[in-house]
């Protein structure tokens, strides 16, 4: 078990961690009886630093510890690393944005209690990245939670003039009874294999959009 060289272990850990690692972190990779000296770890880090001097990435010491990062000179090319053409969106995204649309201004806590399930920080971050929601204010209660609301861009995306174009919730329920069927039947007719597995393309349904207004 312990035959792997210290250097390989430390190197792999730095690449796998996804965050900077301190020397303590690195020492803790080993069971107590086999923990290397901190000086040995330091020596390995110095070696790694040299090993990567001429490569596309470099080992760096930052506030949180050591981490590998790409060399800044390479940014012009790395910029072109294509992000997913059409990111996956989940049910959770839809539900969250729908709740915010109808209930704004609303805190994350309140969204969670309506959904009956927790809403990740990442999700709120993504919706803000899409520029669909924004923080309107902070509620004056302990923790000063942020109050979220939808943006102009959100309305534009769904081709709505303003929020009151959203169907009133009560009607929505009845209306959906029929619309969902329509929507489902349309989905059925879309039988060709998906172009890309990472995409979830729900067909834009003009029928539904029109009758919503």
């Amino acid at each position: 078990m312990t035959e792997q060289p210290l250097k390989q272990i430390i190197e792999a850990a730095l690449f796998a961690a996804g965050k900077p690692l301190t020397i303590d972190h690195l020492v803790d990779l080993f069971v107590e009886s086999e923990q290397p000296e901190r000086s040995a770890v330091r020596a390995v880090l110095r070696e790694l630093l040299e090993d990567y001097a001429e490569r596309g990435i470099e080992l760096l010491q930052v506030a949180g510890g050591y981490r590998f990062q790409t060399k800044t000179e390479l940014i012009p090319w790395l910029k072109r690393l294509q992000p997913e053409r059409s990111p996956r969106y989940s049910r959770a995204v839809l539900e969250t944005i729908a709740i915010i649309a109808y209930r704004q201004p609303i805190t994350r806590r309140e969204i969670e209690s309506i959904r009956g399930i927790s809403v990740s920080t990442d999700m709120m971050k993504r919706l803000q990245d899409y520029n669909w929601i924004r923080i309107l204010a902070h509620r004056d209660t302990p923790g000063r939670p942020a109050l979220f609301g939808t943006t102009r861009a959100f309305l534009d995306y769904f081709n709505l003039k303003n929020l009151s174009d959203l169907p009133p919730l009560m009607e929505l329920k009845e209306m959906l009874g029929e619309q969902i069927e329509l929507f489902e039947s349309e989905k059925e007719s879309q039988t060709e294999p998906a172009a890309d597995e990472s995409e979830v393309n729900v067909p834009e349904s003009e029928v539904v959009t029109d009758s919503v207004k």
């Binding site: 729908a98 109808y102 704004q104 309506i114 959904r115 009956g116 204010a137 919730l169 959906l176």
Partner: protein
């Protein structure tokens, strides 16, 4: 094939086979599937000699992935030739297990009962005296054997798959930080109808949480609340009156008023009048 039918006729010869194989039975149980050891004794002795803490037994019974899995277990446990299953024997044992499952009120899938019926049907057909007619027919076990073989293959394949080195368990992706590269944000393609569908789901769920009267509040008040907060982000203090516009008519006034009151209630804004008769101000509490 005919020998088999003989076997099934006579209990004695079936027992004999069992005894002959008993040494091997021991061996195969060691590697056989879900193994539960109760007080040092392996659980395969179960159906005949039943004294085990019910919990352990339940775990054992629940670990079968269906009737084929159970049959396979019985066959492997006894090191039987898959092509030559002594149906009477296996049926008997199978039914014992099914009875046990029922006894423990396990959620017994209909498939288990169906398999019992199939086994009994095969058994009865094997018991029929061989006439010319059924001589021409294929062995009634053939289909079952085929099914068992196929299932066994995929059961094994599942184990093999599980043994492959995989991400998050045996392998980690090597990732490095990309400094200063602005993240390109791509908005997902979401249709309006998908949105509405999601909302309906939420509403159904939310109706379970009675504290949320999400049906009641008129939307326009909510929108106005957002609008007011937005304005207050730009200017911290705004004249109360300037939120009202004539064009919106009475309905607009009501909506705005409700929005302001609601915001005040939620302590998001403050309504102040610096001096008597002066303009009322709406102040952000941010």
């Amino acid at each position: 094939m005919n020998n088999d039918i003989e076997n099934n006729h006579s209990e004695v010869s079936a027992d004999k086979t069992q005894i002959e194989e008993s040494t091997q039975v021991e061996m195969s149980t060691e590697v056989a599937l879900p193994q539960v050891i109760v007080q040092g004794a392996p659980l395969e002795s179960l159906p005949t000699d039943l004294y085990v803490p019910p919990d352990a037994l339940q775990v054992f019974l629940e670990s079968f992935e269906g009737p084929l899995d159970l049959l396979l277990y019985l066959i492997q446990r006894q090191n039987l030739d898959i092509l030559n299953i002594p149906i009477a024997d296996i049926t008997h044992q199978y039914l014992q297990y099914v009875d046990l499952m029922q006894e423990f009120n396990l959620d017994l899938a209909a498939e288990y009962l169906l398999m019992a019926a199939i086994l009994m049907e095969i058994k009865s057909r094997l018991l029929l005296p061989s006439t010319q007619e059924n001589e021409q027919e294929s062995d009634p076990r053939a289909q079952l054997v085929q099914q068992l073989r196929e299932y066994a293959q995929y059961k094994q394949a599942a184990q093999d798959l599980d043994a492959l080195p995989r991400m998050e368990r045996d392998i980690f992706l090597a990732v490095v930080e990309r400094p200063n590269i602005p993240k390109e944000i791509i908005v997902p393609d979401i249709s309006w109808s998908a949105m509405l569908e999601a909302m309906q789901d939420v509403m159904e769920r939310a109706s379970l949480f009675t504290s949320h009267q999400i049906m009641r509040e008129p939307l326009s008040v909510r929108e106005r609340m957002s609008f007011i907060l937005e304005q207050l982000k730009i200017t911290q203090t705004i004249d109360f009156m300037s939120f009202f516009t004539l064009e919106e008519g009475r309905a607009g006034v009501v909506v705005t008023l409700l929005a302001i009151l609601e915001l005040a209630k939620e302590s998001l804004i403050q309504i102040v009048q610096p001096q008597p008769f002066e303009m009322i101000q709406v102040v952000s509490l941010e």
